[in-house]
């Protein structure tokens, strides 16, 4: 199969403009995430045809339709599984996975855990609004204890999960948290995540302006503190990252909690990929191998 034969040209923002404009509610946090992703790809000069954007289902999972790349809008909770298969078949492409907290930590929780332990070279952006939006406002796995929603009108009696600690415990090799309103900071995180060789996870506070009246932009703004502004912070120190991940309340850290670069990626550990991406390899086996398979049965 032939690969890219187009002459290289500078990558501009125009090529990432989606065919349709997002139909998120006015003021939704997801707009900021979309803009940051587009900006990061331009700054990294990755052409749109070398990017796959893969999502599950939900408001934020409509993301692939709003950015011009090779997009996949898959099933609720299954984006990481689909993305792993895609990356294994063509590891030459940059793979972004986008979705929400319900999609990733609820129905897709199992895949989240296993994708991290496998260190699949993907960038996973969760637009975390602590609520189910597209189903019109039910409790999500990150909704705070006591939060009142249509599905738990008397307040949630279940504590939320902590995506950052969970990712650290599951062996993610790049763990960060962003805030949709902190554009420049978020863009920088996304760039680092894409460049990270291995699984990179960014939990992005992306407030739902329609259904979540608790965790709003106004609520987050005074609370978020950038880890980078803390001069002594060392993102290679897992224990400190774990400690910082537990902070919640008046001070909520954002930024890169943790990164390690000494773990091989899944595709890097696969000898069958030594000859390049699977999709460009010959789909016929050599006759001596075929003969060997038959001889074994004789």
């Amino acid at each position: 199969m032939a690969t890219d034969v187009a002459a290289p040209k500078a990558v501009t923002a125009a090529e990432f403009k989606g065919r349709v404009d997002p139909d998120w509610c006015p003021g939704c946090g997801d707009y900021g995430v979309l803009a940051a992703v587009q900006k990061a790809l331009v700054e990294l000069q990755i052409p749109n045809h070398q990017v796959a954007t893969i999502s599950g289902i939900g408001c934020s999972s409509n993301f692939p339709g709003f950015i011009e790349t090779y997009g996949m809008h898959t099933l609720h909770g299954r984006s990481l599984a689909v993305a792993t298969g895609f990356k294994m078949a063509n590891h030459g492409m940059t793979v972004l996975v986008t979705g929400g907290d319900g999609d990733g930590f609820g129905i897709g929780g199992n895949h989240f855990m296993h994708t991290m332990r496998r260190n699949v070279d993907l960038t996973y952006l969760v637009m975390d609004n602590q609520i189910y939006g597209l189903t019109t406002g039910q409790t999500s796995p990150t909704s705070r204890l006591g939060m009142k929603t249509k599905s738990m009108p008397f307040g949630s009696v279940e504590g939320p999960i902590n995506p950052i600690s969970l990712a650290l415990a599951a062996g993610a090799t790049f763990v960060a948290r962003g805030f949709s309103a902190e554009q420049k900071h978020l863009t920088e995180l996304i760039k680092q995540a894409i460049e990270h060789k291995g699984f990179s996870f960014i939990d992005v506070f992306s407030p739902c302006v329609t259904y979540n009246k608790d965790n709003t932009f106004q609520w987050f703004r005074p609370r978020v503190k950038k880890l980078e502004e803390n001069s002594g912070y060392d993102p290679s120190d897992w224990s400190t990252a774990m400690e910082k991940s537990l902070l919640w309340g008046d001070e909520i850290p954002i930024g890169k909690f943790f990164e390690r670069t000494d773990v091989p990626t899944l595709h890097g550990s696969e000898p069958v990929l030594n000859q390049g991406p699977l999709v460009y390899q010959d789909n016929r086996i050599p006759p001596e191998i075929a003969k060997g398979f038959i001889d074994e049965l004789m």
Partner: protein, 591 residues
Amino acid sequence: MRQSFAVGIGGAAGQGVATPGDIFAKVFSRRGLHLNAYNAYQSIIRGGHTFLTIRTGPEKITNMGDRLDLLIPLNQDTMDRHLHLLGAGGAVLYNSDSIKPGEHADGVQICPIPVSQLADISKNKVAQNTLAIGAALSMMGVGFPALEHVLAEQFRKKEQKVIDENVNLARAGYDYATQHFKPFAWPLPMTETKYAVLSGNAAMAMGGVAAGVKFYSAYPMSPSTGVLHWMAEHARKGNIMVRQVEDEIGVVNMAIGAAHAGVRAMCATSGGGFALMSEGLGLAAQAEIPIVVIDCQRAGPSTGVPTKTEQGDLWQMLGAAFGDYPRVIAAPLDIADCFKLIPEIFNVADKFQCPGIVLCDLLLSEGRLSVDPKELDFYPEIDRGELITSNGVEHEPYKRYKITESGVSPRVVPGLPGYTHTVSSDEHDEDGILISDEYTNTTKRRAMMEKRMRKMEGIEAAVPLPQLVGPANADVTLIGWGSTYGVIEEACEQLREAGISANYLPVRWLVPLHGDAILDLLKNAKHTIIVENNYSGQFARYLRSETSFVPNGYIRKYDGEPFMPHHIVEAVKEQLAGETNLSVPTHEIMV
């Protein structure tokens, strides 16, 4: 009646039933004999009862047959359970130190082996097995060198001492039998052909390799695990990626991701795992990403009987995932067909960009058959369908779901400049843009639905029609699907010998069914009977729903074990005599 010889070896799980089975299979196939092996076992790692039947002969052996010629019980339990199966001319070989024979039919040769006199049992715990193999081959008229050769191969990874010890034991058993037991009346013949012996699971895995599969994903589940094992052990040599995934939901979605990236992707499971995959199947259909899923049926529902066979998943396949969508479903007829079907179904799935389902079952998956190695063609035709792989030409703006007459819209391998697009599980327009949040989309929805479903016409034309086998004016016509092919074939032969002319219709492609062609084939049939391995007659109900065809009778079995030829023969006789129109044969081997 075709000449054949059947050996039954039984014992507790962990007593080493498999090794003698492998050795007999090698000796037979290298003698140029056909063979069929079926292992009846339970979901237990140690203990219980395992009973392996190997049937061999110079003509094609398509099933386990009706009778045993030689019984090798490795424990008393096996002796007690199965001695009654032997008839005149049969023989039982056993360790007389620990096992006692019971009541038996006249003419059965009782062959005690004094194991402790012939071997040092303190050193070799499975000495009785090796002695019995040697004794058995002597009685079958097979020269010792053939066994010596296979033993050396069987233990090639062990040191020479182990090989010598086993060869000496086998020799002792061989000589003891030559001196003390009467050889079988029918010494095993020899032919010039050499056969490959393989399971259906290995055959499907290799068929995948032949089809150009580059990505295989799975979660262990009996009886499909053999496909994973074969792939895990061999695929790397062919540069094929194998992934063990956290659950079957992940399995199918990973395969879909790989398939969308442009490779052929396959996965295998059993009914329970398939249930978890259903939603993914819908995604493959809606996003138009071709994948092939193998379902190795076992007795259900739920966890059911994990180590027993059944054809009970048909309606799950027909109804898998909600909504209407094009799909193909095919059931391999025998183990060689397990190999051949995979490249065929991939070509259909690729051309029509839809999921393909292979409906296998434990009988084929875990059974073993002799196959002429020429039938294992690793270079069949590969047709990827309309796939855009190169760039550099001017083209109109690319529409992934372009409305076409055939319903097929050319796919592109992601990575090409100028063809970016989004595939979607939501309903979409030609461009891949979601239409679920638009005001007026009934026209687009209808057009897209009709585009996808139009593919069924092409699929129907691409898939071969079913064929009736045997004389046109037969007294009885047996209709089966998938794995019952072999046993029905032999039952027809036995019916003919009993003066009842019989023909049969083996159905291999279930979707598309070609209902009109089936009606045409059956229009002059005198007496039709549908044979299947399930309770409710799933195929009979399906055929009726598609064609309004109602047969004269039914033969069903749902005890976990496969049909034996005489089950079908006796059922046909009672139905032709007007005694019943539903026969449920009793399985007489207690396993």
